[in-house]
Each structure stands twice: as C-alpha cells, then as structure tokens.
C-alpha cells in the first residue's frame, strides 16, 4: 500500500503530461474518487495495485539479482506498465461522466484476477530461474527448499505492503489447479515395469505404513496431551487422529523434488516415490473418515461406522484406480483415432487426464490415484498411437506444467508462512509432532521392511531403509488438507495448520538439505548412469524369457510368470483395441532401441560432418564411424523410449535397393538439433533462401491453426520437379563440357549404410508429408523462418554442407540463373535418360548421396492437370508416381537463383 502511495503522485504527474487533452476537472474528480476508494476499501483496490507494483518491483529485483546484464531489462518491465497505467488511470472511474471518447481506458478490475495469476506464475518462474542459475547453491540446498525460502521473502514483502497475507495457498487452487498436473506427470513418466515389480512392497508401505503413521502419531500426541505436555488445548482424541491422518502421508511433490536430485538407485526411488503417490488414497480416506467421526462426535461412533470407514477405504482406493484405468483406456482409444487432427491430439491427454481427476473427485474417490493410473495406463498406447511430434509435445507440456506448478506450490508454501493469523505457538505440540513423525516413520519403515524382506527376492538393504525413513517428506498435500479443516469443529485449527507448516518446512528444508550428504555418506547405491546399449536390451529381454522359462520348469507361479501372462494378454487383446494397427507392428523394445541408436548415430554423424565443415569425410573413411560416445545421452534423454516405426535406414547393407520405410520419429530429432544450434539455423535459413524453391503464390495463408505444413500447390510441386530436372540437365550439360557431374556411390555397402542415415530422414520427411492429407507441401523457401523451418531445414543443411565441402564443379554452373534458360523439351528428356543410363560417368567423381533430400525433390508427385507452362508436355512421361521406384538421380542441390520466383 505504501508503494502505491509513493507512486500515486507519479501517476498524477504523468497523467498531466501524457494525457494533456484530459481536462483538469476530470483529473481532480479522479483523484478524489481514488481517495475515497482508498479509504473505503483499502483491502481491495489499493492492495491490488500494491501487488501489481510489488510484482513489477520483484521482477526487476529478480533480474537485478541475475546479473549486470539485467539493467536494461529492469527498465523495460517498468516503463511500459508505468506509462500504461498512468495513461489509463484517467478513465478509471467507469461511472464517471464521460466528456469525450476515451482513447484508452484503464480497467484494472477487469483483468485483475487473471493478471495477478499470470504475474504469480511469472514471478515463480523467474524465481526458479534465478535459483537454478546458481548451481553451487542448488548443489547443496535442494531447489524445493530454496523455493520455499524465496516464498518467505515474497511473503515478507507482501506482508510489508499489505499488513496482512492476501495470498495463501488455498485448498481449491492447490487440489484443482496445481496438483493434478504434477501427479499426471508422475504417472505418465512412471517406469511401469519397475513400479509393478515392486507393487507389493509399495502397497504395504503406502497402506499399512501410512495407517501406522497416522494412528501412532495421533495416539501418542493424545497421550502426551493427557500427560500434560502441551498445556491447555481443546483437542480430543479424534481430532488428534484426524491431525495424524492428514500429516501421515509422504508427499509426492516434495519427494519428487528432493529425490530427483539425489539419484538414488531405482528400487529405492520407486519405493519412496510409489509410496508417496499411492498413500494419497489412504490419506484421503483416513482424513474423510476421521473428519466424519469428528463431526459425528465420539459417542456415536460404533462398530458399524468403523466398518463403513474400512469399506470406504477400499472403495475409494480401488474405485479411484479403476477410474484412472478407464480414463487411461479412453485416452488410448481417442488417440487411436486422431490421425486427422494431429495438431490437437496432444491436448486430449491433458483434458482427459484432468477429467479423470475431476471425475474421481466428484465421486469422492481418490483423485490422485485416479490420475496416476490414468497416466500409467495410457503412456504406452499414446506413445504408439500419436504422431511423434505430438508425443514430444505431450512430454514437454507435461514437464512444463508439472515443473511450473511444483514451483508455484513451493513458493506459496513459503508465502503462506508469513501470516500472523495462523501462527499459534505451542511448543509441546509442535516439537512432539516433529519428533513423533520422525520416530514413527523410522519404526514403521524398519518394521515393514523386515517383514517384506522375508518375501523379497532381493532384500532391501539397511542403508536403503535409512534413506526411506529419512525420505518421509511432508508437503503441500498435508498443508492443503490442514487448511481444509473446519474451524467450527476443530478449535485448534490454526495450531494444526501452523504445525503442519513447520513439519513441512522441517522435512523439506532440513531433511532435503541433509539428504544428499547422507546419501553420500552412507554410500547408498546410486542409479547407474546408463548408456543405452543394444546388447544390454537384448540381454534384458533374454533374461526375461529365461526367467519365465525357469519358473515354468521349476513349477513356480511367480512374478515372472504373471508378467508373462499379462504381457500375452496385453499384446493379444488390449493393444488390438487400443493401438493403431500400424503402430502395433514393430513395437518391439529392442527394435526401438536399435532405432534410437541409429538415429543418434545419424545425428552425430551429421554434427560431426558439420564440425568438419562438410560430409566429405564420409568418402574418405571406410570404417563405420561410431560417434555414439560423443553425443551420448543428449538425445536419449529427450526421447527415453520412443516408439519406433519401421525404418530401413540401417537395412542398407544388404538391401540397398529396397524401399525405404518411413520412420516417424525423426522430426523430433531435427527439432532438437535445431534448438541446439542456432547458428546452423541461420545457416540453413540462408541456404534455404538461396537454394530452395520459392513459393510462387504469395497470397496463401502463412498461418494455419490446424496444420503445420499447410498449403501445397500442385503446380508448385510440378514446378519443383521441373526445376530439379532443369538443374540436372544443367549439370549434365556441364558434364558434357568436361566438368564432372556429381556422382553417387553404389558399391560400398558400408558407406551406403552411413549415408543412408541422413537419407532416411529426408525420405521419411517426404513420406510423412505424403501420408498426410491434402495439405501436403513439399518445400517452400520462405517457410524457413516459420514453424516448418525446423522440419525442413535440417536435411537441407546436410545437403548444403555436403555440397559445400566437396568441391563440386558441377555446383558452380548450377549457380547460374537458370530461369532464363529455356530448356528444350528434348533436352530435358535427354537429361532424364542420362540420369539413369550414365553411371559410368558418375563413377569418376564419387559424390556422397547426402544431397539425397534434394534428390528426393525430383520424384515428387506431379499433378497431371498442371497449369504450369514449361515442360509440361514432356515431363509427365518421366514423372514418377512413386519416389521409391525411381533410381536415385544423383544430385547436388539444385540451386535456383535468388529471386528467381518470389
């Protein structure tokens, strides 16, 4: 508020200068109006402004902290908003008599709610950015703890401005808008196999462990209360149990945040993580049951009610899971049929996932379980069903949402602390809660593990148990539940909220910070940094089969047996209904791994080629270059388990002549590549401008909401074809004049294999365009800057580099503006023929195949009713219907001169 006061005069002065046309009376009226408002509803309007300004200041503060570069940045957010708001203030009172037409009006209330929300998101994001930019800090203190501290600071500022806490994490916001995406993300990226192999143990921890925590904490606190440890508190046994139940559950958000950075071994991770996800069902039931008990009052509780409570547990938990399962299947089914609306198919995942959450909530089932299982069920099918780009989209959006809300949750947890009204200190209650939570968690984990280890194949080690007990982080779910308590029923609600907050801070900050040193100190088995190797995957599959066989032989019905049965069922029935027929083929894991590795090699191959300036080295090195090590996991991270489609790019050794089969997953890589190398983008953009066919029609839409690759024109396609023909003719002519035309190699299988990789890309690209709908568009030079650029530029880059590195004599004549050269039809024909019959000549200079994508330009589908003027009559004879059938016309990029056809 004081900020506002300080700025108020500024507004007025600016107002007079900026809006000179506004008459003074109006300003006066406005100011008085403002003053009245200020006096009347300080809490509303002015605090709103205060927040606005506060946030702006914060942002600038954030940027300032970020470094000296930020100075200019700092000004920019301030200036426009200042002038804008000052400008707009003149018309603020909407009920004031308007003497003229307002040019602009300032309508803060109109946008207040969304504006503040968006600003919060921005601030949280910027806060995270600052925190993450200090690696030496995040190495010691986990990000979640830092975010909470950041929240403290923000809360302090708000408090300073408002003298009260206007922003707190409300249960509605948390449970409806922040939590679902975090959990969906967790479910979607859940390592299913790992999860289900440890399902039993996870369930034991989640159900029995949580019940134990709740009961023991509640009872012990009650006992201490009876013993007089907390002085005068109005809390009964049931209230204690209610409190115990809300604080018993390990929080998924906090656990993910902390354990993500520690990298413990996968079994330990899945134990803690799985428990934190699944115990929500228990918590919600316990909370509801005890809440009901509290409102019912002690005496009315009888055995029937208790039994009802137990039944409701099963209904809530299993009902929720089932709901999630159903919605998961629904998502799979929907994505099976979204071939024609690929642009929005990614959206279904989120919408239906959220719907799963809401439906479960509506039926008072466990919403978290529902959305977890929804994500877990659909991951396999949607990855297979959807277009590769959509899968990438889903992945990234999922991460953006989850990370964003996680950040906001922690920030708000911090902000919530700065509120005088909730701080009710009761040393006994708070300290005892902390102690009991810690102690009972340890007892629970060790006892349950002791039982579980009797049944486990590989027992959990002692150290793992220590980490598990120590990883019992409480978080925002507990806080959300605590704020949901009814003050009328529970007199000491504020004490509980306050204690919950302290527990959350204690566990997230203190335990979070000490977790890493502890893990190091105890030498906990870490997750191995796995490099994707084919032999390993092959062997894993062999192991699986082996175990099933051994279980069969030794007559055990064990875990492997069940998994095998499930797999058969899944393959025979579920995939049939839920997966596209095309995706059902070739979805073997080994194959997809193989495919990924090949892609990786291809990428590094190209990258290496570019590093050296060209792909020329291909011709000089006969050994297969293995770049795997160099570019290692960069890509595998981006695409953990891509659904591979058939791709033939590796089959080249033995099947040079075979039809290439498209592989869908390439685009993503290209995007990755492009993202990584902006200079290359510039390069390729330039290249495209120079060498590529320029779209003839200028009136077509650049923007389409439904398609990335819109608007193709058959005439253009035809023209591209002709142009290619022409340039080929040109090089043919130059060959006749003694300059060697480009060649291609057919006899070195190894090289072929290598070169095929980039080829595969372009082939795929063509194919995927073909397989699309009418809106096929091959390539337009001016699209390079558009969203399609990422798609198109990559292969172009290859070819550019290729042509660049090899000093191709044929290249130079090609540079001549050819549009002036009218090609006689007969010559065009001759060229076509020569392309096929003159291999001997080609063999003189061996050019790599890499300009293949442009080679692919030639076999474009042509329209028979083209209106294009030249070569029309002659071309059709040579127009290939199927690009695969055409013998590869070896060619460097045909460079249509700049400005040829704009």
């Amino acid at each position: 508020y004081c900020t506002y006061k300080r700025l108020s005069p500024g507004f007025c002065t600016l107002l007079t200068t900026d809006c000179g046309r506004t008459d003074r009376t109006k300003i006066g009226r406005w100011s008085t109006r403002r003053k009245e408002k200020k006096i009347v509803k300080i809490g509303n309007t002015s605090s709103g402004y205060a927040h606005l300004w506060l946030l702006v200041c914060l942002i600038s503060g954030v940027t300032r902290a970020n470094g000296d570069v930020a100075l200019t940045h700092r000004e920019s957010p301030l200036k426009p908003s200042e002038s804008k708001s000052s400008l707009n203030h003149s018309e603020h009172g909407h009920d004031s008599i308007i003497t003229g037409i307002p040019i602009v009006t300032f309508k803060w209330h109109h946008v207040e709610a969304p504006y503040i929300i968006v600003l919060w998101i921005l601030v949280a994001g910027l806060g995270k950015m600052v925190i993450e930019s200090n690696h030496h800090v995040t190495n010691v203190i986990p990000e979640s703890a830092l975010l909470i501290c950041f929240g403290f600071i923000l809360g302090g500022i708000i408090w300073g401005a408002d003298k009260q806490q206007t922003f707190t994490l409300t249960p509605t916001v948390f449970f409806f808008y922040l939590l679902p995406q975090i959990i969906l993300d967790a479910g979607y990226f859940m390592p299913n196999k790992l999860f289900f192999s440890n399902m039993g143990a996870i369930l034991v921890y989640a159900v029995i462990g949580t019940c134990w925590n709740a009961a023991s904490l509640g009872l012990s606190l009650w006992g201490c209360h009876m013993g007089g440890a907390m002085g005068d508190l109005d809390i009964g046994l049931l209230q204690y149990l209610l409190f115990g139940s809300l604080i018993a559950a390990v929080d998924p958000v906090a656990v993910i945040a902390v354990f993500e950075q520690v990298h413990v071994n996968e079994v330990l991770f899945i134990m803690v993580f799985g428990e934190s996800l699944l115990n929500d069902g228990v918590t919600v039931v316990l909370f509801n049951v005890f809440d009901a008990f509290v409102s019912l009052g002690g005496p009315k509780i009888n055995a029937v009610e208790i039994i009802k409570g137990i039944i409701s547990f099963f209904v809530v938990a299993f009902g929720g899971s089932l709901m999630g399962f159903v919605f998961g299947l629904l998502i799979s089914l929907v994505t099976r049929c979204t071939k024609n609306i690929q642009v929005i198919e990614a959206g279904f995942v989120f919408v239906l996932g959220y719907l799963a959450y809401l439906t479960a909530e509506m039926l008072s089932l466990s919403a978290i379980l529902s959305i977890v299982f929804c994500g877990m069920c659909c991951q396999k099918y949607i990855n297979a069903n959807m277009d590769e780009r959509s899968v990438t989209t889903v992945r990234y959006v999922m991460k953006v949402l989850a990370n964003g809300s996680e950040t906001i949750v922690f920030v708000f947890l911090g902000i919530s602390a700065i509120d005088k009204s909730i701080w009710v200190w009761n040393t006994g209650f708070i300290l005892l809660t902390l102690l009991f939570i810690f102690v009972y968690r340890i007892i629970g984990v060790f006892f349950l593990t002791w039982i579980l280890n009797k049944f486990r194949l590989v027992p959990l080690e002692f150290i793992d148990q220590v980490i598990m007990s120590y990883g019992g982080l409480r978080g925002a779910v507990a806080y959300g539940l605590a704020t949901m308590l009814d003050e009328n029923k529970i007199k000491e609600k504020n004490l509980m909220v306050c204690t919950t907050l302290i527990v959350v801070y204690f566990t997230v900050i203190l335990q979070g910070i000490t977790m890493k040193p502890l893990v190091t100190w105890l030498k906990v088995k870490r997750a191995a940094v796995t490099e994707l190797t084919l032999i390993e995957k092959v062997q894993n599959k062999a192991f699986d089969h082996m175990l099933v066989a051994i279980e069969d032989i030794s007559g055990q019905i064990g875990h492997n047996y069940m998994r095998d049965k499930w797999k058969h069922f899944e393959e025979n029935w579920m995939s049939r209904f839920l997966m596209k027929p095309s995706a059902r083929k070739n979805r073997d894991h080994i194959f997809s791994v193989f495919h990924q590795l090949n892609l990786k090699d291809a990428m590094s191959y190209v990258a290496e080629g570019e590093r050296r300036g060209s792909l020329e080295f291909v011709r000089n090195e006969s050994a297969i270059v293995d770049f795997k090590k160099k570019f290692g996991d960069e890509y595998s991270e981006v695409m953990p388990d891509i659904m591979a489609d058939t791709s033939d790019d590796h089959g080249a050794v033995s099947a040079v002549g075979r039809n290439p089969v498209p592989s869908v997953s390439l685009e993503m890589h290209e995007q990755t590549m492009n993202g990584m190398r902006e200079t290359d983008d510039v390069n390729s953009h330039h290249l495209l401008q120079q060498h590529l066919y320029k779209g003839r029609k200028q009136h077509r839409h650049r923007y389409s909401r439904s398609h990335f690759e819109v608007n193709k024109d058959e005439n253009e396609v035809q023209e591209i074809f002709q142009r290619t023909m022409r340039s080929r003719l040109e090089s043919f002519k130059s060959a006749k004049m003694g300059v060697a035309p480009p060649k291609h190699i057919t006899k070195h299988p190894k090289k072929d294999q290598q070169q095929k990789m980039p080829n595969g890309k372009s082939v795929d690209k063509n194919r995927s365009y073909y397989s699309g709908d009418e809106d096929f568009e091959f390539s337009e030079g001016d699209s390079a800057s558009g969203p399609e650029a990422s798609g198109n530029s990559f292969p172009m880059r290859i070819s550019y580099k290729a042509g660049d590195g090899i000093e191709n004599p044929a290249f130079m004549p090609d540079m001549d503006p050819m549009s002036q050269v009218q090609i006689p039809p007969w010559l065009a024909e001759a060229e076509l023929d020569s392309g096929m019959v003159a291999p001997s000549q080609r063999a003189q200079v061996r050019l790599p195949w890499t300009p293949s994508n442009l080679r692919r330009l030639a076999p474009l589908r042509n329209s028979t009713h083209s209106t294009d003027s030249f070569m029309l009559a002659d071309a059709p004879a040579a127009q290939p219907r199927d690009d695969d059938q055409l013998p590869p016309p070896p060619h460097p990029p045909p460079p249509p001169p700049e400005g040829d056809r704009m």
Binding site: H545, E551, I553, S554, V653
Partner: protein, 194 residues
Amino acid sequence: MGSNSSNMNHIPDGQQLLQDTGFSAAQIIRLYERFEFLDKDNTGHLRPEDLETVPDLDMNPIGARIIGAFFPPGKETLDFGSFVRILAHFLPADSNRTRAGAQQEPANSTTGKLRFAFQLYDQDRDGKISRDELLQVLRSMLGLQVTEEQLQCIAERAIQEADADKDDAISFDEFRKSLEKVDIDHKMSIRFLR
C-alpha cells in the same frame, strides 16, 4: 505332488545338494516333487521331451535353448542333482551367504549367472558368441516383427558394442563387461518358494 512322505532322505544326494546349491531343504523337497512330476515315466532321469511337455514353454521364444541348457552336450538325460544345480543359478545371490566361499564360484554368483546366460547363446561352446549365434537368438525373440536384414543389423550392432578385441564375436569377458551396468542379481533371480 504334495506327498508328505517326501523328505530329504528320499532325495538322492539330498544333503550334498543342500550344501552345494544354497537351496533350503524345503526348496529342494519342493523341487524334487516337481522333478518327479516332470519325470513322467519315473526313471529318475529327465529327457528333453519331458521338459518340452511343460506348458507355456513352447510359447517361450528361447524355451528350446533353455531346455538345451539343462542338457550338456553328450548327455541325453538329466538327473535330479544336475536339475537342481542348474536351477541354482537362479537363486538370489545372497541367500547363500552362509556358505563358505572356499569352493569354486557358486552357481548363483553374478559370474555364474552370466555364464549360464552366455551359454544360451554360445551353442557351439567355443567360448564366443558369434554373429550367427546372436542372430539366432534375436530371430527367435524378435520373431516376425522385423525383417531379416534388420535382424542382421541389430546383431551387427550388438556385437560391435560389446566386441572389445574386434574379433567379430563376443567372448565371455566382453559379455560380462557389456552387462556390468545391469543388476544381474535382480535380472537373473527368481524366488523359489519354500
């Protein structure tokens, strides 16, 4: 099955097996029941055909190889001792930590497990997995999903990955090295009921 009369005394070499393999007595008894069940004609020996009758094993892509692993070259029959000793490869590693490590490598050590897996590939027992041997396994596991050329490429690549000495085959050491990141104890153990 379920004959209560069977105890350790009925089992040939019972005590010795108990010592050698790390199975508990209950497990050995259970396995013996299984052995007798498989041994349809009560000869005290299993023949490959006996194992082939196990349901679901014919569905297993490498089932035949597993059966083969029970019968060392030259041997047509399998007595209970060998049966248990082979199954002992699949015991979790540390359930036999009580045994003295004096004798040679126990079957359920990581090396023992790997050796078993290795022999599934190495059909000609020359100590190397050749490309053809790998290809056969791949073919059976991947089946119709991929083409022969793709299979060959996969095999080629897999060998390249592991092949340290560039002899175009995977020796046992190379095999072990290529899998050292894998938790073999997890992957190659089953829980034997007791």
